[in-house]
Symmetry: D2
Subunit: 305 residues, 4 copies
């Protein structure tokens, strides 16, 4: 039996970092050997440094690991990055320069021309962008990113429509769970009995990331994650629900272990052609699960050897 | 000092009926003298028949009134109707035939060609439709309606745009509070931690009522409610909020005692011309307050003499 | 391999009935062969009759089963009963008289002198009461019950204290989730941003059931469920959590697949001796899971042969 | 007409500070002339420094006031203090030494022997402790405090029982709203669908403050706030609600403009003598309103001249 590849988590104590820890616990290909976070956490046992917010128990082996400084020295070659975008802009290039494969959930480098922004089922072929990424040519390291948590569900629903019918104009309105804001995130006083109609930069991300994701890279071909039998790929990336009042977060968010996007309420639109409702799990398919699936795609295509 | 006009409430024990009771408590023009509800409530004191859900205390005089049968005999000439649409379709015509002025919040007759569907600030002139309403010509009675709770906020925001620039195409997405479903309405198990993407017939109402409200009646003129100094007319029917994260229900729903619609986040749209966010109180401006304002308009124009 | 025992569910369309369906889906000993509900559901496919509220999908085989009338004719010998207490008082005796083993979650017969009220880990020996139960002597049928959802967590926490130190006086205050009220249960308008300080008959049940559960039956011995290796028995019936702010429903309610009761915050009390906090899953350990564990205990002790 | 007394708010930008601003807006006796907060806010207009969370609009005059440094120079003689207890321990004595009347909502000095801890309706006579307060004798300044938000409702309910029957033993369990934790306070991720069974130092405060409040100062007499016609004193400090399911926060928290404590569900107790439920508004009667009533008592008794 093959040994697992050692991986590290940058930003391991935050909510997305914790989700990485949770999702990697019994992963068949990867094994966590390194956890890094801000100076405040450095040197402390992970269980003490992280305010664990997952519903499953903190894995015993991880709980005792000590948090390393957020520097490439001593880090493994494969790094899952769960950093705020300001810090990501500074640290992710540093790890890539040092030869690491950085699989990032941050928005910092998503729109950089030579950085692949990838949903394996949609534009897995964009991974080829790595061939011309400067870091990769210099150090062998690189950065691959996944989209914003709202863009990912939208694009999973749009991709088959684009492929089959073509797409010209899309209007989208999102309703987002507070969990997308990380921890401590939104104050309870701000959100109980309330709706907040604004998330800074969210609309811009939705617009530009969607275009990049649905764009065509010369010569790229889609080789769906499902055919590659990637461990975190759901059986179905999309399901259509027939009941008129579905999808609903309560019943459908966890579909396919949180990796399947649910679509429903398809009906003609009086302005554009069609209207429908999309539901996607924001912290699994929209964050840690997205990055993990990207890592699996990279492994399957030989980029992590 | 002029004596107040006696009014009755049809469907007085439901949530909208209770809101009528609350809003009429100290009304300068109207006074509740009759409360009717379903057979189950008939003959019982109101405080016992109604499961009072308002935050202010039940008015003492009203609490002791006995609930009358839902029949025109003995009813006053002015009736606020807060009935489910199935029952409204049957009862409202009966009261109009008997000579009552029925000011209805139900959807049953809204789209009937000779029934005015009115927001005083937007299309108060539509009241003229009464001139050709069959009931009015026969018995003197009539039916006037107000729109669906979502359509009303939308139309209040659209009307000045239509007047100034013209309107061709509108797309709207609503997020609605559970209180709009009445009582008991939505089960807590269905909505806690959840979003339900469907309300039966809601989209149809939004589409057709909006068109009727923004339509032009030959010869009608708008005489804004604010100029008429109607008691329930807010100082401003619409306010624009500059902060990028407003309007928010928590802070803005009660603006103008729940009668003012808040607009915010106006910005260019990549598909149509402009995008913005509208907030309107669903059970005040969107139900009892809307009907009450219609009654005041009718009074001001001599239809209740 | 042994064939599974056929079981039926009485009240199969309600929330507890659905939980039985969910928990029995892959049960090693029992197999659902019969589903009954009120007249309204009779003859319809289960998927259509039940408004499925569980988070896992409705099992395909069950979805297509037709709902039988709530009568003993044609029912299997083992019946899980999830009925409202008024109906249970009428139907449960009828099934017991007809020779069925009725494993009931209802409060109707719990306090009847010859009906065992059982938590396997606490007073499994009370099952012996069946020896003198009239139904059992006449028809072979019988009724066994589990406690109220709040009493069960309390008693699981008290039992070891009673055994080791003795118990004289207990004061308990409960905070209960809306899910305990079934479906549609509590209206969202009644509970959002609110606390309701009263559930009819709840305090009485807590008081009398606790005494019966902690009572000693002459000659009975506790043979813990864990030793009997009952399939639904959690590894630990109770866990103690050291963190000062635990147990919390969000993190601890699902402990032991919802069958483990969490205790925390043990500290001296200025009035009685000790204070602590108990958390127990209301619809699993407090309802369907409790009944299922009772059924497993009955099977292990030969009462279902 | 008498001119109003100038008052200042220390910690004016926090939630309790904002509540002071809101409650003082149209106060007949006091007028805000000075607002102070931490260094970060110093010199900025209040509307900009405070993240306004009240439901009523920020008063225009206050919005433009500049935030002063938290130092006694230039401060008025009457100071409402809404500081975290760590900072209060340092700043409140400094203002008292400088001759200010500090009316504090903080827990820092509540239990100090010569500092009155006062609920006007319960132990207004404790104000006499000021006679022996060191600060008062030296500079004329002093500190008066109000209790913890949970203690205050409890004591308002217990005081008449103590007076009439005597009190020996009390057990209390509290359920507290997140708003009590200030802003940002509790993260939404921590509390949605959850209950947190612990607030640091809360139980200690409840125990010791209750004893001090219900204690007798030699020679002191109660002169109820209602007799003194203090502007913020509710008509009734306590109301008893007869319905078996009341009080409920949704309907009863705002009783008496948030200053009246509601009691319900009085019934015999099997362990002690009686059980009942108390509801009190945590940020009005339990914080800003409590301090304001204390200030009015001080004024009425000549301590602010």
């Amino acid at each position: 039996m093959q040994t697992k590849l050692p991986v590290g988590i940058l930003g391991a104590t935050g909510i997305v970092g914790q989700r990485f820890v949770q999702m990697l616990e019994r992963h068949p290909w990867f094994e966590i050997t390194w956890l890094a976070a801000s100076d405040r956490s450095e040197g402390r046992p992970y269980a003490e440094a992280a305010r664990w917010r997952m519903k499953t128990a903190i894995p015993a082996r991880i709980a005792e690991m000590h948090v390393s400084p957020a520097k490439p020295d001593g880090a493994p070659k494969i790094i899952f990055a769960a950093l705020d975008s300001g810090i990501a802009a500074e640290l992710e290039p540093r790890f890539a320069e040092a030869g690491c494969a950085v699989i990032s959930n941050s928005s910092a480098l998503r729109m950089q021309a030579d950085v692949p922004l990838v949903i394996p089922e949609v534009n897995g072929g964009h991974i080829k962008l790595l061939e011309c990424q400067t870091w990769r040519r210099k150090s062998g390291g690189f950065v691959v990113t996944n989209p914003n948590c709202s863009a990912i569900g939208l694009v999973l629903a749009l991709a088959p429509l684009q492929q089959r019918f073509g797409l010209k104009t899309v209007m989208a309105v999102t309703m987002q769970a507070v969990s997308g804001a990380g921890y401590p995130g939104v104050a309870s006083l701000d959100i109980l009995g309330n709706v907040i109609p604004y998330i800074a930069k969210e609309e811009e991300k939705m617009e530009e990331e969607t275009l990049k994701l649905l764009g065509r890279l010369n010569g790229s071909r889609v080789e769906p994650a499902q055919q590659l039998r990637l461990p975190s790929a759901p059986e179905q990336p999309i399901v259509y629900l027939r009941a008129p009042d579905r999808p609903q977060p309560r019943f459908d968010a966890d579909c396919g272990a949180g990796m399947t996007t649910s679509v429903g309420r398809l009906r003609p639109c009086g302005v554009l052609d069609w209207k429908f409702t999309v539901l996607s799990h924001n912290t699994i398919r929209g964050a840690a699960g997205a990055a993990l699936l990207n890592a699996e795609l990279l492994k399957a295509q030989g980029y992590l050897d």
